[in-house]
């Protein structure tokens, strides 16, 4: 009975993480399209939500779970997964609140690493895995996207240089709809799988499934729905940062950033080296701005974004470790996760009540 309660708490927490993953990463696909007026904001997030939902069904590579190769798999318990998810959700909510794009995957990895470290000590954490799956991609993604987008916008300006600005803007806005859609679809095929993998692992650990079973349809549908709903709600603070605070974009720059971003993401997927969509599109936006004029990039904002990337893993790890510590105080049963979940829900409820009290909306737009 206790095990079932923990299982369903882990499943609900995984879906909550999936939701925050969706609204945190909406900006990756839609920020440039909204800022260049290629699409109306609500149309852009609706399209992104639908494509994320569809994308979640296109690839079911559950074996490649997020923590695989990063912590000792046989030491992972539902309590560690729960604590890791809380660490990732906390970091996603904090970075959304301050309007900074950061990688949800790295937050989840950080949360699980912190919880595993608190539970089993340093032996549970695989350093090589962190270098391979976090450090190298985090360095490579923005630099590569910066270079590709920079080169792309220089070529675009060279080719369309003498055309009428109104024709150019109209055409590249159309192009942005295509590249933005490709980005959303790619996001759905990557990020919803993380949640599916975690739910599947929890079901296997609880004895409801064996590791060779297919993923249950309800797992796929619920994960797809959670990420699509999160995307639809939209993390407007991050959209504002990416769409207009890093550079003031024209439609050609928006197209170059999205086209380069999609090319980098898909090339990396093709080579079996997945990169963070957040790091890629942020680097691409900076590249598209800097190639036109270095001073066009607000380097202070860019610096804050990079600082958030550096802090993602340790901060999520600290919350994951702390959460595991609190859960552990209550023993191995369901009491710990129930207490932590109740405390978090109360804190979120209090935050919402405060927003309502101060006349703000309850959507993520604030």
């Amino acid at each position: 009975m206790d095990n079932d309660v923990v299982l369903w708490i882990v499943v609900a927490t995984a879906l909550a993480f999936d939701f925050t993953n969706g609204f945190h990463d909406t900006a990756n696909a839609v920020a440039t399209s909204i800022s260049t007026r290629a699409m109306a904001p609500r149309v852009a997030v609706t399209l992104a939500a639908v494509l994320n939902f569809v994308g979640a069904f296109l690839s079911l590579e559950v074996a490649a779970t997020i923590a695989n190769g990063i912590v000792e798999a046989e030491l992972v318990t539902p309590a560690i997964v729960f604590a890791g998810l809380i660490g990732a959700i906390s970091w996603n909510l904090l970075t959304w609140y301050v309007g900074l794009p950061s990688s949800s995957s790295h937050a989840l990895i950080g949360g699980v690493v912190g919880a595993a470290f608190a539970a089993e000590g340093a032996d549970a954490v695989l350093g090589d895995g962190i270098v391979e799956k976090v450090a190298i991609p985090a360095l490579m993604a923005p630099v590569l996207a910066f270079v590709v987008a920079g080169l792309g916008i220089l070529l675009i300006y060279r080719i369309i240089g003498r055309l009428r600005p109104s024709t150019v803007s109209r055409s590249f806005r159309l192009g942005q709809i295509v590249t933005g859609s490709l980005f959303s679809l790619s996001h759905g095929t990557n990020d919803a799988q993380k949640t599916m993998g975690i739910m599947f692992l929890a079901l296997v650990a609880n004895g409801n499934l064996s590791s060779g079973d297919d993923i249950p349809v309800w797992v796929v549908v619920s994960a797809a729905t959670a990420i699509a709903l999160g995307t639809y709600v939209g993390g407007w603070r991050i959209i504002k940062t990416m769409g207009s605070r890093i550079i003031k974009m024209d439609p050609a720059q928006g197209f170059a950033a999205q086209g380069a971003g999609a090319a980098v993401i898909l090339s990396a997927s093709h080579a079996g080296f997945p990169l963070s969509t957040t790091h890629v599109i942020s680097g691409a936006i900076m590249g598209a701005g800097a190639a036109k004029r270095v001073s066009a990039v607000r380097w202070g904002v860019a610096g804050n974004i990079v600082a958030a990337w550096v802090l993602t893993l340790p901060a999520a790890a600290a919350v994951g470790a702390l959460t595991f510590g609190v859960v552990h105080v209550f023993g191995d049963g369901a009491t710990g996760p129930v207490v932590v979940s109740a405390a978090l829900l109360l804190a979120l409820g209090a935050g919402m009540a405060r927003r309502v009290g101060s006349g703000q909306t309850l959507t993520a737009e604030g």
């Binding site: 994308g55 296109l58 690839s59 079911l60 590579e61 090589d128 270098v131 391979e132 190298i136 490579m140 590569l144 996207a145 270079v147 590709v148 987008a149 080169l151 792309g152 916008i153 070529l155 675009i156 080719i159 369309i160 055309l163 009428r164 024709t167 150019v168 055409s171 590249f172 192009g175 295509v178 590249t179 490709l182 679809l185 790619s186 095929t189 197209f255 170059a256 086209g259 380069a260 999609a262 090319a263 980098v264 898909l266 090339s267 990396a268 997927s269 093709h270 080579a271 079996g272 080296f273 990169l275």
Partner: protein, 79 residues
């Protein structure tokens, strides 16, 4: 050892990204260029030039579509 294992993959990601990114932006820019030229020629009363430019625009639309289709195929083949 890790660096040696990753170096080949990193290089592959770098050059494929560069080629794919340049292909996407150049192909679409050529679509924009030849569409605009076609419209200008039509307005200038030169039907044959307008047709030729429109043909080139269509050719690059098709090439752009092939690149996008390849991208979608990469996504689908992951699973």
């Amino acid at each position: 050892m890790l660096a040696a294992v990753e170096a080949g993959v990193l290089l592959e990601v770098a050059w494929v990204s560069l080629v794919a990114g340049v292909a996407v932006t150049v192909l679409f820019s050529l679509v924009v260029l030849f569409s605009a030229r076609s419209a200008e020629a039509r307005r200038g009363g030169s039907a044959s030039r307008a047709m030729a430019y429109a043909g080139l625009a269509l050719l690059f639309v098709a090439a752009f579509g092939v690149v996008l289709g390849y991208g979608v195929n990469i996504m689908l083949s992951k699973g």
